[in-house]
Symmetry: C3
Subunit: 343 residues, 3 copies
């Protein structure tokens, strides 16, 4: 149920300070991450090849990691370079290592064939380190199939219902967005015009506005959205002709730990040109409240599905992108399983 040949977010860069080992599980694979002396991040399987002890309980020595059960030492490529009590290192003494790229303050790990790891496949995003944007990073744990969170992101009609008290907006459910296919995902665009602000901002934004929602969802599970608020303009097609009041990005990644558990990494932030710190505080509080609403809904949905996995679904108009993404996911996984190229 997981795509292998793709970049997964293993965490925010601040989760991995030098000298510490970070344990993460992605798509049923336990990982131990650490930094080499030059700061480069390394990911190896969190399982010593000797007797399966957890390497995250180990110690960093230079660019190497030592298992602190019986002392086997591995270099950053996963090759064993020392076995206490003997001079010869068995050839098979290797732990798997995973390509890692640090970009936009995310630790990206390639979970598939290392030879196919192409950093150009990492989706665009805006990190908390970007000096022009006040991005605030966070994360949350969902006890659910990660695909249910993807579904959620691909159908914003739920804003009208799940987030009625936080985001709100009748238009999300009443009308359909424009959906277009990308190489490894989908783009969803929508202008909402002459409408009140998002509910959680209405105490400071009391007028009527045009809003742009423009996002991509890409394999395996990366969501990046431009959300802009304009003064309500007169245009009824194309971009708003009102004044740009607020320009924001939100970058999100839903990373499966196992079949029934995922970690949701997310940020939201405004351009420093359009907003001050207090707007960042507001967005940060707003997204947490809204994602807890999602969490409650999706975890209950997942429990229902687990209870009776074979029950059919009913499709409605808003499911278009949801269904297309599921087809893309299923095909990609099937192709990988068949040993074929994944795209």
């Amino acid at each position: 149920m997981f795509v292998r040949n793709c970049w997964y977010v293993a965490g925010w860069d601040y989760e991995l300070p030098p000298g510490q080992i970070l344990a993460k599980t992605i798509a049923d694979q336990p990982l131990a991450l650490y930094r080499k002396q030059d700061g480069t991040a390394v990911a190896v399987e969190d399982r010593c090849c000797h007797r399966h002890a957890a390497l995250h309980l180990g110690e960093i020595e230079g660019d190497c990691i030592r298992c602190m059960y019986h002392g086997l030492k591995f270099d950053a490529s996963g090759r064993c370079v020392e076995v206490p009590g003997q001079s010869r290192v068995p050839e098979r003494a290797v732990v798997r290592s995973y390509p890692v790229v640090e970009r936009d303050n995310w630790l990206w790990v390639w979970m598939g064939e290392p030879a196919r790891a192409d950093a150009d496949l990492i989706p665009f995003s805006v990190g908390p380190g970007d000096p022009d944007w006040d991005m605030r990073p966070s994360s949350m744990r969902f006890e659910a199939d990660y695909r249910l969170v993807l579904d959620n992101l691909l159908d914003f009609s739920h804003l009208t219902f799940v987030h009625r008290k936080t985001f709100g907006g009748e238009d999300f459910a009443a009308s359909l967005p424009r959906i277009s296919r990308m190489e490894r995902g989908f783009r969803v665009e929508r202008w909402v015009r002459d409408t009140p602000a998002l509910v959680f901002t209405q105490h400071v934004m009391t007028g009527r506005y045009d809003m742009l929602i423009d996002y991509t969802v890409q394999l395996p599970c990366v969501f990046v959205m431009r959300f802009q608020v304009y003064e309500a303009g007169k245009a009824t097609e194309g971009p708003s002709d009102g004044k740009l009041l607020l320009d924001t990005w939100t970058c999100q990644s839903v990373v499966p730990a196992s079949a029934g558990e995922c970690t949701y990494y997310f940020s939201w932030g405004a351009s420093k040109a359009t907003a001050g710190r207090e707007v960042g505080d507001l967005l940060y509080a707003g997204i947490h409240k809204a994602f807890l609403e999602d969490k409650e809904m999706i975890e209950a949905q997942y429990r229902n599905i687990r209870r009776d996995p074979d029950r059919p679904v009913i499709n409605i108009a808003h499911d278009a992108a949801v269904n297309q993404m599921r087809i893309l996911l299923d095909r990609t996984i099937a192709a990988e399983n068949a040993g074929l190229a994944a795209e």
Copy 2:
């Protein structure tokens, strides 16, 4: 392992105030209960037909319930009457609804074929709303197969042992009651004569008494008992000829949530003609203490059975009603499974 064509208790009426949605699971079926504008209780499956979201996280609109994930709206019969974003409602967009009858302050839900739901099959009981009786309602969760609780109710010899410090009574184990067959269950009767009061009442009832225990256990899991205390009389057969001192009913229902979990709804109370409030307080405290004794015993028994489900049992004389009820249950379930009439 569950009878379908029967009335299950889904809760006490006070658990379902107007405007609120109550989630309950009965026999592996998740239910969402709510009240229509006229107060009538409704039960629908707690699973939206669209994407399996939980309807108990929804909202009541008039007599309808709206799924607050993507906004599908269902009437009290479970038929979808609105799909946001489209004018046409798919024909298959239906959630299952269950017949509900509110009687004696219990919410009775029919879990089988709706056409067979006959309110006359609801067993007699005395509710907390009855003005002549001071019935106190309560409930408790057991981590056990509900049939083990039925077994417990059908063999009062356990009072002598499990409830030695609360109910007590050597006679329960030493002698056998009279058991008779009913259409959908069993009746168990016993006179205990010239005996001390139940242990937990001995500080106020210091003499010797005759006691009537007269109860029915009916499919699927309803127990209703008349318990009366008389001054010790001279009669050795038939009703006591002593003076009636205390007249009580206890109404109980053991409702399976799943194979290994059940909810025990129960009440106990005296006639206002024979007792004041303080006796009600005493009975209420007594039954809770005793049922916690049952809970400890039955949950440990259930763990033993789960560890090794195929171990044979040994039958003793006190198992007569227990075994007959199990046969009735098994036959009823087998007949249902075979698609035949259940009686």
Copy 3:
């Protein structure tokens, strides 16, 4: 995965005061232990033959145990001697009883065929009751396959790594001990010479020392070690010729409750001839701290193994005793399963 025909430690004697019933699970078998009037310990299956109620919720009557669900009474051999409500006791009404021997303050229970229970097979150990030794008993729960703890005990190279801050000692990983076969296990011996004291004792033992580590591991899971500290001597082979400063025993038993859980019973103590109470306090604190280190490491290892049980291991020189003990265990279990003699 368990040897049956052997003596398992069911607990320390102080866990079983007269008049109380102790519940323990060994190798998936639930046991109820109690003492007869003469103090002799009895172990019966913790499951009444009638309806599988837990006997540890029962009561002791003389030398018998009564099930407090429906009152069946069993003698110390497990034979039912009373069934309430009937005069005849069914012949099949028997609960399994297990041979018990109390020795060295441990309750030893034979989990296999009673006829093969030979007290001479109980391994030698030194109990807290021994007047010449200040042995301190304790226990700890591990969420792990008991064999992983056995592995741990059979390879002291882990002291260098897991216990670097508590025991320490570079020599354990750098050199190999002498291993010899016993009838039902292995003996492991090693002299460590001219070395600092164990880390947790270095505030009081500041010099350099010779140390003897001499232990046996016997089926199913009993570890007994003589640990001695000498003034650093001049001998490079055989016993140290330094002065004996500290003479200790540690007796340990790793008892499987189920496939994934075990109880670790252990003691450590010095001879009263070589040490006072404060040394006993030091050893007691030291072993707890070190075993918590083992617990963290082994439980994480067990989670890794459960996630992917079929992953191969890599063998290194230090695995010699580990692998031999696994072979002995597997052969013994296979022989038992084949109905053959177990040795």
